[in-house]
Symmetry: C2
Subunit: 119 residues, 2 copies
């Protein structure tokens, strides 16, 4: 009878490396925040919204026209961006104008753009 179990958990791990990199790991909450920002930007329609709003503020109706989406769908996407503090809005009469809440997002966007259009 041979020993069974306790295989991979013990055998192949490089403990020094594991302990080394573990020390520099960020807090769980920071990791979640980072993933959350990236996730918010991880949809073509939201990428377009960011790109449009990077140029100038626009109302929901204009965005819907530009994106070829329903008002409702755009509003839902804006809500996602709003809750992550990526966009903000101001109301002027009946019209709601959205704009970027944070200039840093444009930097993040542009850096990704550089990467994609491989420099």
């Amino acid at each position: 009878m041979k020993k069974v179990l306790d295989r991979c958990e013990v055998v192949c791990i490089n403990h020094e490396a594991v302990n080394r990199v573990r020390e520099k790991m960020l807090d769980e909450e920071v990791i979640r925040s980072i993933a959350d920002i990236f996730k918010a930007l991880g949809d073509p329609n939201r990428v377009k919204i960011i790109r449009y709003l990077a140029q100038e503020e626009l109302c929901v109706c204009d965005l819907a026209q530009l994106l070829g989406m329903s008002l409702s769908a755009v509003s839902h996407q804006l809500r996602a961006l709003r809750s992550r503090r990526l966009v903000k809005f101001r109301r002027q009469g009946k019209i709601v104008y959205y704009s970027l809440d944070d200039a840093h997002i444009v930097d993040l966007f542009n850096q990704c753009l550089d990467h994609v259009t491989h420099d």
Copy 2:
């Protein structure tokens, strides 16, 4: 009897603004690539993988240990990162070592980190 329909499609749109921003929109494919990169980074486990690999190359087993995930789950996530060319691997005997494929990703990561830990 009043006119019905053709409401929002015609009424509230600011045509000048729409045309202005539309001119500077990127190609559909570029948009998709950008969204795809962000989406790949939009998961806490993959964010951690990037963070770990930014320090040094690691085998799948070490990553599984660090993440508290099964080998299979880690392998699937690495596949997602691999297909986007965010990580690469080399095989040494039975062990497969993963590392970052592109230093730019670390810049993107760090910029997002700066944003999250609000500068």
